[in-house]
Amino acid sequence: MLGLATPRQLAKAGIVGMNRRNVELIAQNNPRHLYPLVDDKLQTKKLAEENGLDTPALIGVVRLTGQIKEVHDFLKPHPQFVIKPARGSGGKGILVISGREGDDYVKPSGSLIGFEAVARHINNTLSGLYSLGGKPDVAMIETMVDFDPIFDRFTFEGVPDIRVIVYKGFPVMAMTRLSTAASDGKANLHQGAVGVGLDIATGKALRAVQNGTPITQHPDTGANLAEINVPHWENLVRLSARCQAASGLGYLGADIVLDKSEGPLVLELNARPGLAIQIANGTGMAGRIDRVEQLIARDNPPEDAVWRANWSMKHLAAI
């Protein structure tokens, strides 16, 4: 009625609301002291490397302004790299260099910039231009992801990533976010990016939505979204499960990208993942969370991340 559902209908559909997410999922499972691990990407990176999680390799960190002049020589062996602020938000302040031409740096768009521009970017990053709250920051330099071309048809500019929600080590739901012209190349669902729910068991597209309405084709490329079938799916799900073990966060959003040669790589972790994933999947998360709770309470499942990922893929897709 009037485009409104009743609370009873939502409960029946197993929808987790904002309040329940904040009170039950986040507050009870994510201890505050773990937040810096995921809010500071440098810490996340170290965490990933210590725990053997695949992630774009860290080339170096610029912490002081005085170090900037060394960067040019330091980067000589690395034709491709990405510079990002450790505490950036909303994808701000990310500089991607995809090659060299003489002393100049080539951006993916093909335009050339000199080292001064790179140095200025690093300097801005250090002084906190891109960081939350304007605090001084550090600049991370990591290897550029060579994106698996599988997604090329499905995205307009931007970087397609796969978000997996992991609850107590069990990957419960997944989606991929595809940027559109309307979202200005950003993978942000409420700005008009397309959300495609992925079958947790297979990595195949379930359903696609843009601005809350179901769609079948990418609005810009016209590709049939139902054809999305994420390769290396089992590895990807297991990788997401291992993120939980590494970070200790009980309710976690793992953002994973696919590298052409290296397969799934963890890009970021999120301690407060949103709920739009339910809309993209066309189903609520509560049923799966309850099933996981039931399993934990009844069967004392092993802590092993691979076991949990396998169990999820086997048992949760149907719920």
């Binding site: 409104l4 559902a5 939502l10 559909a13 609301g17 609520g284």
Partner: protein, 510 residues
């Protein structure tokens, strides 16, 4: 689970204390629950006039006393050229006027404010009296008196019953011959009370006359009335002559107890006394505060009401902030409205209280939108955060000046109230919205900005509501109830109203 249980216990305690204190203040201390409740307060005045004979004058007047139902506060006197003091003589309070060299006609006034509600009955607290002297009756009177007493004695079991029976016979529609012989036909009330007193005394029962004024709700009155007080062996009991009932009538203001005259004058002749009572309607809240201050209620002594007036005014505003917070909590967690800055809407609402809603809204929109435009330019300069906000702050103040000056020149004096907006908050709002434009797009800015303004307007409407502002100030203990509600919402895990819309497609599928 334990956290939930703890919360329930805390909420229970908060509700109990908050509601309990409110109920106590209402029921026991008489604070009205609704603003604008009127209460009757009487101004009782005694007016003594006389002609001085030239000798030093001393006028003694019995003064009204508190009862269970009435409280005499702030009395005042008038009498030019007279000194005044109060003498307490055991059971009686007397006002004394004195002057040395009077001449001519004089008028003396005694005035007292009388509030409802009182202290333990003073008459009841009086000491046991000595046995009364036997009155002297003439032969004929004596026989009538004996016969009336004998009849009354027959139909009663104790002093009180005897007195009641006497009063009944003295006030009967068709008096017996004995009564007729004693007090004649259609005697005045004064005569009847006199007769009753003499009869009681001759039976050896202590009895006194109580004189006072029967106050009336919402009406002026001036009639002095006599009642009978008798000693029943344990305490004094008042008997109303009108209906032969025991107990002081509710609105009876005793002015004199005992046989002494109501007033005495030395050095004056042709004296007379007049009483008048004016009934006023004052705010029930004011009456309650005056009354409780007078009797020294500790709940008042340790409340906001005991502070200086400016501090009280400050708290009247401060106490509205929790209401604003409650509105924000409800709108964000139950309705699901998005606002920019958690409590920014409350501060904006407080500004609206000072500027009036429409003026405030217009000024806010002008300042924030022009601030956003200028801030948009600052973005392209790649400034660092703190200098950027500082720059915005300076821009905001410049805007204030420009708005005020231009508005004033154009004769729009409302523009001057722009200064009520807290600059820092406005600057941060502009900063946050501008970041929002860059990161999330214009749509999000309108959503959050609109949400903030809507929240501010609703908070304003709630905070300026007559009932809400009355309750928050008069019953600050309701804060605890507000806290309880906030705590409950804090653990609310149900859906927000906005989610009924957001997730509606998922419900439809089934």
């Amino acid at each position: 689970m334990t956290a939930k249980l703890q919360l329930r216990i805390i909420v229970g305690i908060l509700l109990f204390v908050g509601v309990g204190l409110t109920a106590f203040k209402h029921l026991e201390l008489g604070f009205p629950l609704l603003p604008g409740t009127k209460e009757t307060v009487w101004t009782a005045e005694a007016h003594v006039s006389f002609r001085a004979t030239g000798e030093p004058v001393r006028v003694t007047l019995s003064l009204p006393v508190n009862t269970n139902n009435l409280l005499v506060v702030d009395h005042s006197t008038a009498g030019r050229g007279f000194g005044f003091h109060i003498e307490e003589e055991g059971r009686a309070r007397k006002g004394v006027w004195q002057t040395r060299n009077p001449s001519g006609e004089y008028s003396l006034y005694y005035r007292a404010r009388v509030y409802r509600g009182g202290l333990p009955d003073l008459i009841n607290a009086l000491d046991a009296p000595a046995s009364p002297e036997k009155p002297v009756f003439s032969q004929a009177e004596g026989e009538s008196a004996d016969s009336i007493l004998a009849e009354a004695y027959e139909f009663s079991a104790d002093n009180e019953g005897l007195a009641l029976r006497l009063v009944q016979s003295l006030t009967a529609q068709e008096p017996t011959p004995a009564v007729l012989a004693l007090i004649g036909e259609n005697p005045s009330r004064h005569v009847r009370v006199n007769a009753a007193l003499r009869l009681m005394h001759s039976a050896g029962i202590p009895a006194e006359r109580v004189r006072g004024i029967l106050l009336e709700e919402r009406k002026n009155s001036s009639r002095l009335t006599d009642l009978l007080a008798i000693w029943n062996g344990e305490g004094w009991h008042v008997i109303d002559f009108d209906n032969a009932q025991v107990g002081l009538p509710e609105l009876f203001l005793p002015w004199q107890f005992g046989g002494d005259a109501l007033y005495e004058i030395e050095g004056g002749v042709d004296s007379s006394i007049r009483f008048s009572v004016i009934a006023d309607q004052i705010s029930g809240r004011h009456a309650a505060v005056t009354y409780n201050t007078e009797i020294g209620s500790s709940l008042i002594d340790f409340s906001i009401l005991s502070l200086p007036v400016e501090a009280q005014n400050a708290f009247a505003t401060l106490l509205l902030i929790p209401i604003g917070a409650l509105v924000v909590v409800v709108l964000r967690n139950i309705v699901g409205l998005r606002t920019s800055g958690t409590f920014m809407p409350i501060l904006i609402a407080l500004v609206f209280v000072q500027t009036e809603l429409l003026t405030g809204l217009v000024l806010f929109l002008i300042v924030v939108s022009s601030g956003l435009v200028i801030r948009g330019y600052l973005t392209s300069l790649n400034l660092l955060l703190v200098p950027r906000i500082a720059a915005v702050l300076v821009v905001v103040i410049t805007l204030y000046i420009a708005l005020s000056v231009i508005g004033f020149r154009l004769g729009i004096s409302e523009a001057l109230s722009v200064t009520f907006f807290p600059m820092i908050i406005i600057s941060w709002t502009i900063e946050r919205m501008s970041v929002l434009v860059e990161e999330e797009g214009m749509k999000e800015v309108f959503l959050q900005g609109g949400g903030s303004l809507l929240t501010a307007v609703i908070a304003y409407l709630v905070m300026t509501n007559r009932y809400i502002s009355y309750w928050t100030f008069e019953f600050p203990e309701l804060l605890l109830v507000g806290l309880a509600i906030i705590l409950v919402i804090g653990q609310y895990t149900g859906y927000r109203l906005s989610e009924l819309r957001r997730f509606e497609p998922l419900a439809r599928k089934d």
